[in-house]
Amino acid sequence: MKLSWWKLLCIALLFYTVIMGFLGPVPRLAILNESIRNLYFHVPMWFGMVLILGSSVFHSIGYLRTPLMSNDDKAVTAAHTGILFGGLGLVTGMAWARVTWGDWWVNDPKLNGAAIGMLIYCAYLVLRNSLEDEGQRARISAIYNIFAFATLVPLLFILPRLTDSLHPGNGGNPGFNQYDLDSDLRLVFYPAVIGWALLGLWLTQLNARLRRLERIAEEKNEVVASR
């Protein structure tokens, strides 16, 4: 079996990230010092999370349009990966905040927004587990997923920009500015974002395929049992 091109691209970009992320030049900034290299690992978690949760919503809408269980499987596996990436984004951000801002957690709109967003997605998992009927679970959680994503985007990208925030790219800034991101950083940062996002999609795809196989196995068992 040969790996598809995007999986090979994922492997290449992740190795590039790890090697160039530590050997490549970075700007010499006060307070941040060498920890600026966290940019290649912390920020792609969030970019990847938004992309994967976006694909989850895409499949949820797909389920509402054509109620196939395969759509629900894709939506829930993507949500799982997205929550994993978000959780990693939170803890890596906390470790970074400890050395640059002086505390594990500061009451900053960006951080609190991210935490609320993650809690909303945890509630998605709880909601799914509380519903017995398969079709009902798929339908209700698909609708919840749309609202969850629609809440996450303002929590992460709009509300923190309306006020002051310690976090770069916020407090009136439209995004990264010249102080946050120079050309040396971009050279590794963009490949890192793509690499980590592709890894997330890969893990999601594996889980979705497993779920499909489980479903086929279940159906076969039912056929055998009814004979």
Partner: protein
């Protein structure tokens, strides 16, 4: 073109001298110990990716078996 290049050079040199006071892990780099860090991280990444690829292949094999029957 020449003018732009020399301007960039001046900017680069001035930015460099401006940033000299900032402490970076220069000793770690000149010792070559940074390569140890990169080697370890590459090995960990290689191990994890190997595991993911193996899982991918096992799923593909299962798909083939279940699809054939």
């Amino acid at each position: 073109m020449k003018y732009i290049f020399s301007l960039l050079m001046v900017l680069a040199v001035s930015a460099n001298s401006f940033a000299q006071g900032i402490e970076m892990a220069d000793a770690l780099r000149s010792d070559g110990k940074i390569y140890v860090v990169v080697a370890v991280l590459s090995l960990v990444l290689a191990g994890i990716l190997f595991y993911v690829i193996r899982t991918d292949r096992r799923i593909s094999r299962l798909e083939k078996e279940m699809g054939d029957k």
